[in-house]
C-alpha cells in the first residue's frame, strides 16, 4: 500500500476535534503478517483511549470504538447518514451504490426488492444447492491432503452460489472479484472511476438484455420491481446490481477464511463440533460475533453533541463492526471463542435499515460448510512454516490459508 497514492492523504485536524482524540490510524494500512486482525482493530479500545478517536488519514475521520455507539450510529439514520459509504469521501462520487448510500424514505423501495430476493424462504430453497456445491468443492481436494483454503474453497463457494443466483457465468468471478477488491481494499492500481467503469462495462449489457428477456434470476427480479410505482432506471439498476455483486463476492469469503484459520489453530474447538454437530448452529453465531470484518463510514447530518463529543455537520465517522462483538463492555472475555456463550446484540451485520440483507444466506452457508467439512476433514492444520495472509481495509479478508491434513 503505497503512501504515494492519493488515497492516503493526511488532512489537518479540525478545530472541534480535541487533541487527545487524535490518533495515527490508516484504514488501508497493512500491518505485519504476524499481527492478528481482530487484536489489531481492538487496540482502538486500548486503555485510556476516548470512545471516539479521530485520524487524519483518508481525508480525516472519526472512529467509533465502542459497541453500543457502533450499534446506535448504524441504527440511527436521522442523525447519521449513509450518503458516503467509502473513504476517503471523494471515492463516493465515482462509485455510487444502491440502496446502501440512500437514507429513508428513498432507501425503502430498493431495499424491498433485496429483502424479497434474499428472504428466509429463498434461503431455505437454496440449501440443497449450497450443500451440493460445498461437498463437490471439498471432495475435489480431500484425497490430496492439502489445499489453499482461500482460493480453493472460500472464494469459490459463496461466489459460485451468488453468480448462480444472478445467473452470471461462474468463470466471470475472477474479473468481478478483482473489481470488488478495488472497492473494499483499494491498492492504488485503479482509480475509483476505472473501477466503476469496469463494473459498468460488464453489467450494463447484461442488465439491458435482462430487461428485454427477463429470467427468474435475482437481477431480473430487481428489474421487474417498482420504485414508488415507477420502473427502475438503467442507472439505478446498475447501482443496485453492482452493490449486490460487491456484497455477495467479498464477505462470506472473508468470514470463512477467519473461522478456518481459527479452527486450524484450535483443535479443542474443532473437536467439540465434530463430536456434537448440533453445536454447529450456535458456533456459527459465536463465529459471527467473534469475526466481524466490515468497517464503513456514516456522515453526521447536523452539528450536535453525541456521547459528550462535538460533531460537526458533514463529519465522517468510521463505524467498525469488529469493535462491537469484541467490546468487553458488551461481552466478557470477548476474544475467547465459546460456543455456549449467550449472544445478544452485536453489529457484525450492521444495524437499522441497512442491516445486511444477506445475513441469512451467510448463516446457511457457514452452517452447511461446517457440517460438510468437519464430517469429511475433522483434523487439519496450517501448513508447517507458513503464515496465512490477511488483508485489511473496508472488508478484512484472508487471501492465503494453506491447510494440511492426513489424507
Amino acid at each position: 500500500m503505497a503512501e504515494a497514492t492519493e488515497l492516503f492523504r493526511k488532512s489537518d485536524v479540525p478545530a472541534h476535534v480535541p487533541a487527545e482524540c487524535v490518533i495515527d490510524f490508516d484504514l488501508f494500512a497493512q500491518p505485519a503478517p504476524e499481527e492478528d486482525f481482530f487484536e489489531y482493530w481492538k487496540k482502538l479500545q486500548g486503555e485510556g483511549r476516548p470512545d471516539f478517536v479521530w485520524t487524519p488519514y483518508n481525508g480525516g475521520h472519526w472512529i467509533a470504538t465502542r459497541g453500543e455507539d457502533i450499534h446506535t450510529i448504524y441504527a440511527d439514520h436521522d442523525l447519521f447518514s449513509s450518503r458516503n459509504i467509502l473513504l476517503p469521501v471523494e471515492r463516493n462520487e465515482a462509485i455510487r451504490v444502491l440502496p446502501t448510500s440512500l437514507d429513508p424514505p428513498e432507501h425503502r423501495p430498493f431495499r424491498n426488492l433485496i429483502n424479497h430476493g434474499l428472504s428466509p424462504k429463498v434461503v431455505r430453497g437454496l440449501e440443497p444447492s449450497i450443500r451440493e456445491l460445498t461437498v463437490s468443492l471439498i471432495e475435489a481436494f480431500r484425497a490430496r491432503g492439502h489445499c489453499e483454503f482461500a482460493s480453493e474453497f472460500a472464494e469459490l463457494l459463496p461466489i459460485s452460489l451468488f453468480l448462480k443466483m444472478v445467473n452470471l457465468p461462474v468463470e466471470d468471478r475472477i474479473k468481478l472479484k478483482a473489481l470488488s477488491e478495488q472497492v473494499n481494499r483499494p491498492d492504488g492500481s485503479m482509480t475509483p472511476e476505472e473501477v466503476n467503469q469496469g463494473f459498468y462495462d460488464y453489467l450494463m449489457p447484461v442488465l439491458l438484455e435482462r430487461r428485454k428477456n427477463p429470467g427468474d434470476d435475482l437481477f431480473s427480479q430487481f428489474l421487474a420491481g417498482s420504485i414508488d410505482g415507477r420502473p427502475m432506471t438503467d442507472g439505478e439498476a446498475f447501482e443496485l446490481c453492482m452493490q449486490v455483486l460487491i456484497a455477495g463476492l467479498d464477505t462470506v469469503v472473508s468470514v470463512l477464511g477467519f473461522l478456518m484459520m481459527f479452527l486450524a489453530r484450535n483443535p479443542d474447538h474443532r473437536r467439540q463440533l465434530v463430536a456434537d454437530p448440533a453445536m454447529i448452529p450456535p458456533a456459527v453465531e459465536e463465529f459471527l460475533r467473534r469475526f466481524p470484518l466490515v468497517a464503513i463510514p456514516r456522515t453526521v447530518i447536523r452539528d450536535m453533541e453525541f456521547q459528550g463529543v462535538t460533531f460537526k455537520e458533514g463529519d465522517l465517522i468510521l463505524v467498525p463492526t469488529m469493535l462491537h462483538g469484541l467490546d468487553d463492555r458488551a461481552y466478557q472475555c470477548p476474544l475467547d471463542v465459546d460456543f455456549n456463550r449467550r449472544i445478544g446484540i452485536h453489529s457484525t451485520f450492521g444495524a437499522g435499515v441497512h442491516r445486511c440483507p444477506g445475513s441469512l444466506l451467510a448463516r446457511a452457508e457457514l452452517r452447511i460448510f461446517l457440517e460438510e467439512w468437519l464430517s469429511r476433514i475433522p483434523d487439519f492444520d496450517i501448513a508447517p512454516g507458513r503464515t496465512p495472509k490477511v488483508l485489511y481495509g473496508i472488508v478484512g479478508t484472508v487471501v492465503d490459508l494453506p491447510l494440511v491434513w492426513q489424507a
Binding site: P120, K121, R342, I343, A351, S359, L360
Partner: protein, 106 residues
C-alpha cells in the same frame, strides 16, 4: 409490565414481563429466547421474528399492515395466524398474550 407467553418450537413456555409499548419481538429477543431472531431490529426488513398468534388473541390485535403482509410472504412455514412480532405492541389490552414460534426462522 405486561405478561407475554412465548412457546418455542420445542414446546417450552417462556413467561415474560414485557414493558408496555415494547414489541413482542424486542421482549423476546431481550430475553434471548431461542427461535426468534429479529435480525433487522424491527424495521420490517427481514421476516425473522415470525410467530403464530394463539387463536383466542387474534381478534384483539390490530390487523397486519400491507408492509407487514408483504414481508410475511418472505417467511417460512407461514400460516393464517402468522405475524411478524416486531409489529405487535405489548399493551394492557393484550396482557397474557400467547405467541408460538415456528420450527425455524429460515
Amino acid at each position: 409490565m405486561v405478561k407475554l407467553i412465548v412457546i418455542d418450537a420445542s414446546g417450552a413456555e417462556h413467561i415474560l414481563d414485557a414493558e408496555a409499548g415494547r414489541s413482542v419481538m424486542k421482549a423476546a429477543t431481550d430475553a434471548l429466547i431461542p427461535g426468534i431472531m429479529g435480525e433487522c431490529g424491527g424495521c420490517l426488513s427481514c421476516a425473522t421474528c415470525h410467530g403464530y398468534v394463539d387463536e383466542a388473541w387474534a381478534p384483539r390485535l390490530a390487523p397486519p399492515s400491507e408492509e407487514e403482509q408483504d414481508m410475511l410472504s418472505c417467511a417460512v412455514d407461514v400460516l393464517p395466524c402468522s405475524r411478524l412480532t416486531c409489529q405487535i405492541e405489548m399493551t394492557a389490552e393484550v396482557d397474557g398474550l400467547v405467541i408460538r414460534l415456528p420450527e425455524a426462522q429460515f
